[in-house]
Symmetry: C2
Subunit: 146 residues, 2 copies
């Protein structure tokens, strides 16, 4: 099921601003802020209002078509959603985002925390930060050059 169908099946229209936002995120490897999205779309010759970007992101996030992530400096950004439960890892150098699936690996941790704190765990936020393959490459080349 593509994103157009998700919109339709939930009673929403496939409008121009929504199309533009999805298209841009589909072609972006890194999280973008609402302002970055707005600016990029204007610069590529499109015309839409900032407000529509906010509204599109709100709706698309609700439908899990896009995800809100936090950069390592705490600033928020939006990336394409992958459907199903997953998490993101962000490159601290070029900001490229990758996703990885599942939460089975957290179940041991969660059980331990439930035992320790007596909280009942319902949900979680997990993001990893690191260096992507391409930036590792660049770094080692620079090192060799010295």
């Amino acid at each position: 099921m593509n994103w157009q169908e998700v919109l339709s099946e939930n009673g929403y229209r496939v409008s121009e601003p929504r199309r533009l936002v999805m298209q841009l995120l589909e072609n972006s490897s890194q999280p973008l802020t609402p302002l970055q999205i707005y600016s990029a779309l204007l610069q590529s010759g499109n015309t839409l209002g900032m407000v529509s970007v906010y509204r599109a992101l709100e709706l698309l996030t609700e439908l899990c078509l896009v995800c809100l992530v936090y950069n390592s400096d705490g600033s928020p950004g939006y990336v394409l959603g992958m459907g199903g439960h997953h998490h993101h890892i962000l490159c601290q150098s070029c900001h490229k985002a990758a996703s990885f699936a599942g939460s089975e690996d957290l179940s041991a941790l969660i059980e331990k925390v439930e035992a320790d704190t007596n909280y009942r765990v319902k949900d979680h936020l997990l993001q990893l930060y690191g260096i992507c393959p391409a930036c590792q490459e660049k770094q080692s080349v620079r090192q060799e050059g010295n």
Copy 2:
């Protein structure tokens, strides 16, 4: 080492706004936004500027005396830092925060992600959301009452 010493040893003064913010966070079980901190302090008869709250939080966060956390709705809040590496679990009902230590439990997950994505993992953001013991109690009481 208490927070006053941490400030001094890093060349910062123990000023009134910083004292007020720390004092409030020490007595709050839930994350507070800058505005909530400012309002609470004014209401308890103190006098300080909003700007000082922002500045105090920025510095205290840098020194790891307070931590920035994300509520399950995505809004940010500040809680007392615990020193050393730790994470937080937040109650979805009363917003009470608890902390749990360590990241050893994540190492298996991290290795797996490194293998899958070829990223080199450097850091992570982990928060759990759930129901605290007191709110579990309340819920089961209400249930029985029906």
